[in-house]
Subunit: 424 residues, 2 copies
Amino acid sequence: MGLVVQKYGGSSVADAEGIKRVAKRIVDAKKNGHQVVVVVSAMGDTTDELIDLAEQVSPMPAGREFDMLLTAGERISMALLAMAIKNLGHEAQSFTGSQAGVITDSVHNKARIIDVTPGRIRTALDEGNIAIVAGFQGVSADSKDITTLGRGGSDTTAVALAAALDAEVCEIYTDVDGVFTADPRVVKKARKIDWISSEDMLELAASGSKVLLHRCVEYARRYNIPIHVRSSFSGLPGTWVSNEKPNGDVQVEHAIISGVAHDVSEAKITVVGVPDKPGEAAAIFRAIADAEINIDMIVQNVSAAATALTDISFTLPKTEGHKAIEALERTKGSIGFDSLRYDDQIGKISLVGAGMKTNPGVTADFFKALSDAGVNIELISTSEIRISVVTRQDDVNEAVRAVHTAFGLDSDSDEAVVYGGTGR
Amino acid sequence: MGLVVQKYGGSSVADAEGIKRVAKRIVDAKKNGHQVVVVVSAMGDTTDELIDLAEQVSPMPAGREFDMLLTAGERISMALLAMAIKNLGHEAQSFTGSQAGVITDSVHNKARIIDVTPGRIRTALDEGNIAIVAGFQGVSADSKDITTLGRGGSDTTAVALAAALDAEVCEIYTDVDGVFTADPRVVKKARKIDWISSEDMLELAASGSKVLLHRCVEYARRYNIPIHVRSSFSGLPGTWVSNEKPNGDVQVEHAIISGVAHDVSEAKITVVGVPDKPGEAAAIFRAIADAEINIDMIVQNVSAAATALTDISFTLPKTEGHKAIEALERTKGSIGFDSLRYDDQIGKISLVGAGMKTNPGVTADFFKALSDAGVNIELISTSEIRISVVTRQDDVNEAVRAVHTAFGLDSDSDEAVVYGGTGR
């Protein structure tokens, strides 16, 4: 038996009872002969409460101090979890991100891991301990200041430690049973996926699936670490995410389509009346990039020859909409466009599956399903293994259900649709 | 203007308003031209809440993890305080005990400081920052684990930093105006002391005065750091504690008696029927010492020649009473005593003042004051500058008031009583 890294999110350790339940599960893994490293998030709403306190003392809390504040949350949960394990008669030691050797850059509030040197974790394991590590945090290589990793940071901590410790698997425990073919709150017939390739999982994550974040899957793919996403409540097998199809005990379906993701957290900005000449689009996206805003889809409309003006639309997180508008307004004079339109009533539906590459007709079927459901398409974007469309937000749930059914993903339908038609 | 270390307790930073008020006071010191290092405790009841959580997951939380847990409290308060200062337009950086170079031994929950290496604090000050340091915590020199300093730990952190940074003064901000000639809740006429010698303060602290703990005063005396205890609410001058009488701006009274302290937190154990032969007392106190219990007063009654048996009484913190009884019961066979009596209804009254040394008659006047007040004395213990008696707990308040009046300490009385009589 090898080393496993287990990660428990805030909802799994929301109170003393949760911590005790998780402690039992960890001890079970240890009893099964594994070396166990546990990455834990802050309890329940702790992080939100700390953010609220920060806002009470300062309207714009500074990065360094904000990170110092937030990391108190995992410090509490990890110490309590270690105590609960010791109370079950097993040895456990907790470690901060810094103590665990999670070395980051110096970008406070969203630091990137640049190295993991888990010497103390290795020693603790060798001495028979279960090692508990604070998720979401590290220490800056340059300034020695405490940093946090931003959204999904604890999952990334877990995968990074799994890679550095050469773990058999990184188990991500959460409050759902795994990755589904669509969001089960929207699609009642969504099925749990037993295995999904890292590549498909990356696309699902980028398209709005919230079970695993893009960053964590990317890290796992790069270091070839299998992830097992599962419920900390049910104990049932969940979804395996890995580069290679596992053989042996994991049932793997050979589906063409992995799933349907949707996302209603984005907004659309249209820059109206952009002079249709070289460098204009570059200037617009330089302004956006300088404001450190990540954008998603981009569409440039065909220019009307008579006016030599064009419109450029792009999508971005709603939370960054205000910042983007400001950045563009500031450069309006130098770029020279007519106006900006902001639309936060959009939704995105994405179909993801490596099978698309070799199965022509997927795109046509996707559009037909949307059309049959009466859903109007506003933007389209594709990759080798994904098609995404932007629609009205009100149409999103209906669209997801229609596509899920059309591609044979409903749990009582037959196996995946077989393609033999013409190109997509 | 030199460097000042300011320490703020949990009641001063109990909520966002308190943190903002303290931030203003800190900024004022900075504006006055000082370099400022601030030591801060956890907010209000945070530590108690964390202890409560720990007890929910484990009846006997382990030292290392318990320390990891508790140190989250100061992490929160120090980060918020730094944010609040920055919000007032001044630069501030917060540091954990470990980052501030507070190096301790490895005794979790009550570690001792063995070195302070404040390189990062010095750098932060030199760059124009106000440095905020987490009180009560350090890092073990051997294991690199996080430790806590136990009761009064934040005061000790402040004094230790003041010594290592060669500060002008260590200001201890609290919720009272300073050190008084007696507890003002018991003695309405108690006076604030403007200056008290470190030596007298040590005796007061050892005798139950709670404003400053023994350990912190001892550290300050050893490194010759003046302490200024004052209110974070009123801003008035408080009490200076130093080895030498200050000259200049501080008014100093030449009192014979510094004050009257009392303590109702102790209990008395009497070991009845101890064989009156060499080694018996040693065996009893070895058993107590092995259980890591600190005892205070010890009295051995005169042996009744007929029985060759004696009684030995000692006082100790009530919180350790159970442990002491257990330790003694275990050794009953080898020591050979008849029985144990436990009494937690005692109180201690102490009169403290360096003037005692050269003023005979103090003891006689002390006993007369108690006698006039109808207070019965059960045990007596003295040092060069202190007399302590144990009485019934119910008599303590009346005894303190009587002694305070008898020695001319009441705020509307004349100056201290003059002695010319015979020895005490």
